[in-house]
């Protein structure tokens, strides 16, 4: 873990005092040396105070925060963002503990009319809070670390998927999780697939289409790999049907759950690996596509905001959501219109836009595609937040909040004229299933059904 707290002794709060008391004259010359715009040197955190320049105090962020509406202990994104940063002096590191109540849904980012870097401020504050104020020996720390590093758990679990699924489903396991780890026993652990996406990919011999011009590198993330390989398979088949060569490089978790838990060093390691892996492919003419909107958001925005990595910008500007990609570079609506209209079963879905999709301008796309297909109805259930926000809703102390936030979405789903759910985010899907009992599918799966029927 980070040692960011440790370096403060030499030049921390004492810095300004060592000047006056120490009359020594030190002649040094650092001319020509490269200086990164460093930051608060004690913690290695960026100085985000100038981000407060964009804030007009309009509180739009606060009114869009799903947590603040249900939990008065959370003072809202404005306070935890521009206000807290503006009140900071160099030596101030006391982050208000309410930062841990932020679910990292990023609706504030999406709402802010003037571009305050709210989520960057929240991510950074949360990391600072975890680094400085959370004991490494606390249960919360280890529980959060475990949740944040879901991929590691999944890697182990999916080696013996049936056994793991059975064990995780046991009431004794749930009891232990709740009591020992503080993971809610209300939720069913997602089942591990008996064959991971990567195993499938290797088995089929990798790409079946090769192309010099049309190449994508697939960032599947942990969830599509271990839990819902059918989403990954759908992506591969759809893209191959449009003539794309698909690459599936080695990769780690996008880092989203790590940001959300303030485990910035874990996230940095994952990001470094991923950027390195995908940068080379981008330089070879591949575009990066994701099937999970939180993954694409991490690669496109959070990496850029939080890590100064070689090639991070190259990867960010060449990363897309899978469906978005086809809409931009292919006549997807035309293809759908052509493929549909025959004897396919009429299908209706209640569609929820994940918050992180909204932040990428993807909110309307699934509904618009639905319009193009005869016999397919996609009902938008509105702009409510599912409330689970990745690992947030798994924490015992957050479960209630998570379900209270989700209540509005559950109602809207139930009101919609459909009995299957649809969304691009795996944890939103978990919450939709949990709150309504509906089966929930991924947009890519539905596209594959329509396009690849023949």
């Amino acid at each position: 873990m980070s040692d960011t707290g440790g370096s403060s002794a030499e030049d921390g709060g004492e810095g300004s005092e060592s000047g006056p008391t120490d009359g020594d004259v030190l002649e040094t010359d650092g001319e020509g040396a490269f200086d990164p715009i460093e930051v608060f040197p004690e913690t290695g955190e960026p100085d985000l105070r100038p981000g407060a320049d964009d804030c007009y105090k309009c509180s739009t962020c606060d009114t869009n925060c799903p947590v603040a509406a249900v939990d008065e202990e959370f003072p809202g994104p404005k306070f935890q963002g521009p206000e807290q940063w503006r009140l900071k002096r160099r030596e101030d590191h006391d982050i208000d503990p309410s930062i841990t109540k932020c679910s990292n849904c990023m609706r504030c980012d999406h709402a802010c009319p003037t571009g305050v870097p709210l989520s960057q401020q929240h991510n950074t504050a949360r990391a600072e809070y975890v680094a400085q104020q959370v004991s490494r020996f606390s249960r919360e720390y280890w529980r959060n670390r475990l949740l944040a590093n879901y991929g590691t758990m999944a890697r182990l679990g999916s080696r013996v998927p049936r056994l793991t699924n059975a064990v995780m489903g046991l009431s004794a396991t749930k009891w232990l999780n709740e009591r020992v780890l503080g993971i809610t026993s209300e939720r069913e652990f997602p089942e591990f697939a008996t064959e991971t996406f990567r195993e499938w990919w290797a088995d089929r011999g990798g790409a079946r289409v090769s192309s010099e011009e049309k190449r994508i590198a697939y960032f599947h993330g942990d969830y599509a790999n271990y839990n819902t390989p059918e989403v990954g398979k759908a992506l591969v088949r759809v893209f191959e049907s449009f003539g794309y060569e698909v690459a599936v490089p080695d990769q780690r978790c996008s880092g989203t759950p790590m940001f959300a838990n303030g485990m910035l060093e874990d996230a940095r390691r994952a990001a470094t690996f991923n950027v390195e892996a995908f940068r080379e492919l981008v330089e070879d003419g591949y575009d990066v596509v994701c099937s999970c909107t939180s993954c694409s958001f991490a690669l496109r925005q959070e990496y850029l905001e939080l890590f100064d990595l070689k090639g991070v910008e190259t990867v960010a500007t060449n990363t897309y959501d899978a469906v978005e990609y086809l809409r931009i570079y292919e006549d997807l609506e035309g293809a759908l219109a052509e493929a549909s209209g025959d004897d396919g079963q009429p299908a209706a879905f209640a569609y929820h836009t994940p918050c992180h999709a909204r932040n990428q301008g993807l909110d309307g796309q699934t509904v618009e595609l639905g319009d193009a297909v005869d016999g397919l109805e996609v009902h938008d259930v509105g702009d409510s937040c599912s409330g689970i926000s990745g690992t947030y809703g798994w924490k015992r102390e957050r479960y209630e909040t998570s379900m209270t936030i989700g209540a509005e979405m559950f109602e809207h789903i139930e009101r919609a004229d459909a009995d299957t759910g649809l969304t691009e985010c795996p944890t939103c899907a978990m919450q939709m299933e949990h709150g309504t009992g509906y089966e929930v599918r991924h947009t890519l799966e539905v596209l594959a059904d329509v396009l690849l029927e023949q």
Binding site: T63, E72, P75, A111, Q301, E313
Partner: protein, 429 residues
């Protein structure tokens, strides 16, 4: 390939949504692009048409008496009185029961959170019972943890304005709120869900507890005003429930930002957009455009998606990006500009001529915006339209001071309506 539509509206505020709705009734594919949440969430939710004449006389009883005298270049002068009326009818039809005031041309006087009164043409149903031009003895209720609204002081201020009714105020503890920094949405949510709260002797539903706290103060009054926190999506239910419990009319006193009535209006209009199958894309900004070879038409605009510039093409475009607040108008120490198309924005060269020394003076900056012809096409410095297929609506327009005139929503409706109509007419078969 570009994302294709018939009409593309840039900006998701009142003007943009009105333009999109109007166009959608006349063209098949209309898209609304809205980068961030619009300034509607700052607004009180009232639909002001014209409260004061440009010479600041008023309050005007009937805005339509003064509109014909507005100076040339004023957005109302550009679109004409008939269009304003049509736009209001259109609005009334879209919002239905949620708004009142359509029965007359006359303005209503609404009490504000400050205890002043202001003229407006349409008001949310939640405000209707509270009109200051409706003589009823009034109790205002504020809460200790909501320092923006001091009910006893607002009541005293109302008395100073000479309202024709008795009024007083009381400050209470809001049931179920312990922290002094809970967001407004927390209050609204508590009431909307009628969550159980501590009522001294055990838990009881929030609305019941609130009504019990208010009841002892009701003597002699026939209506009670609260800050605008009485529920969110189901605010009508919350209000009706309180009315039944209290036996008097209940209303909200407009304030903001943030403003739940503004957000409710936004939701109403978004629902209408969905109804008319307007495609809505949010979260990504229009950053540039490509013009035809002769520069006379916009071929497509470019939307920034995390660093990639994706073309969006349409036959005609509506610019409804807002004014200085909505960032549709930008400024630096040197100049004032319209950032997407760089449309001409007339302004004095010296920035010390942009303002008056009096805080509520006749500020030139309040009138910054694009100049348009009668079809609402932005005009270049030479007086010719910037582009044949671009129209502008709402606060991005110059030539009027909506804050002084109390004309913001009316101008957005009227110009959004006219811009949407022309934009749809432009669509190539």
């Amino acid at each position: 390939m570009a994302i294709e539509d018939d009409v593309l509206v840039i900006g998701g505020g009142l003007a943009g949504m009105t333009a999109a709705l109007t166009a959608a009734e006349r063209a098949s594919r209309v898209r609304l692009l809205s980068y961030k949440q619009s300034t509607l969430c700052h607004a009180s939710g009232l639909i002001d048409v014209l409260g004061y004449a440009p010479d600041r006389s008023g309050p005007l009883v009937d805005p339509f008496d003064a509109i014909p005298d507005l100076p040339q270049g004023h957005p109302y002068e550009r679109v004409g009185t008939d269009a304003i009326r049509e736009a209001l009818h259109f609005f009334d039809a879209v919002v239905g029961d949620a708004y009142r005031g359509a029965h007359t041309d006359r303005n209503a006087l609404v009490p504000t959170g400050d205890g002043t009164v202001k003229p407006t043409a349409r008001y949310p149903a939640s405000t209707a019972a509270g009109l200051a031009s409706r003589p009823r003895a009034t109790l205002l209720v504020g809460f200790e943890t909501l320092p923006d609204f001091d009910a006893p002081l607002a009541a005293a201020h109302l008395r100073e304005t000479g309202v024709p009714f008795e009024t007083r105020g009381v400050t209470l503890q809001f049931p179920g709120i312990q922290r002094a920094d809970a967001t407004l949405t927390r209050y609204a949510h508590l009431l909307e869900r009628d969550e159980p709260v501590d009522a001294g002797a055990g838990a009881a539903p929030a609305r019941t507890v609130l009504a019990e706290a208010v009841r002892p103060h009701l003597e002699g009054v026939s209506r009670v005003g609260f800050p605008p926190i009485l529920g969110d999506e189901h605010h009508a239910v919350v209000r009706r429930d309180l009315e039944e419990r209290l036996g008097v009319a209940v209303f909200e006193v407009p304030s903001g930002p943030p403003s739940l009535p503004g957000i409710r209006l936004e939701r109403l209009l978004f629902d209408a957009l969905e109804e008319l199958s307007v495609r809505v894309t949010t979260g990504v900004p229009v950053v540039d455009y490509e013009a035809s070879a002769d520069g006379g038409r916009i071929e497509h605009v470019l939307v920034d998606r995390n660093g990639q510039r994706v073309p969006y093409r349409a036959d005609s475009y509506v610019l409804a990006t807002g004014g200085l607040v909505g960032t549709g108008i930008d400024s630096s120490r040197e100049r004032v500009s319209e950032p997407i198309f760089d449309c001409n924005v007339a302004h004095p060269t010296d920035r010390y001529d942009w303002f008056e020394d009096d805080a509520f003076g006749d500020h030139p900056f309040a009138r910054f915006g694009v100049t348009v012809d009668r079809e609402l096409r932005p005009l270049a410095a030479d007086g010719e339209p910037e582009f044949a297929n671009l129209r502008a609506a709402g606060a991005v327009l110059g030539g009027y001071d909506y804050a002084a005139e109390k004309s913001g929503s009316g101008v957005s409706l009227a110009t959004g309506y006219v811009a949407g109509t022309h934009a749809a007419a432009e669509v190539r078969g």
